[in-house]
Symmetry: C2
Subunit: 79 residues, 2 copies
């Protein structure tokens, strides 16, 4: 089954990449962009067929590898 993980910097953490995108959009003439935050999305194809087991496995993957939980938050979707 497929799982999608969103990893974003926590709100309190400065996001220079997002700031750079915001500045670049302004320079290109796009107005009214008030804030930009950039994160990662990771799509996984899993052999696991049970949704709850898949969610638990992906959560463990996030905590061990995919996200730095000190500065990043993550969200797991299983479909």
């Amino acid at each position: 089954m497929k799982a999608t993980v969103h990893v974003m910097l926590k709100q309190a953490v400065l996001d220079p990449q997002g700031e750079a995108v915001k500045t670049a959009l302004g320079a290109l003439g796009f107005e009214g962009v008030e804030a930009v935050r950039q994160g990662k999305v990771i799509e996984l194809d899993l052999a696991e067929t049970d949704a709850e087991a898949a969610r638990a496995a992906v959560t463990a993957m996030c905590e061990k590898l995919l996200a730095n939980t000190v500065i990043e938050s993550f969200r797991v979707e299983v479909a």
Copy 2:
């Protein structure tokens, strides 16, 4: 209003970052991970209040800056 953009490498394009994540997950003992693809997620806060206008603006931003449409596909969600 808020917009979320997902930018992923097209299926035909090799994703070495995703492959590296897959290999690392295997090395950490996570089994049954068949494929991994990694992309970007960009969250924008817009001054625009009309959903259709916001979607059009964000699509233009993707085509001009946020995605490289030669090798990447993007998806816009407005909420």
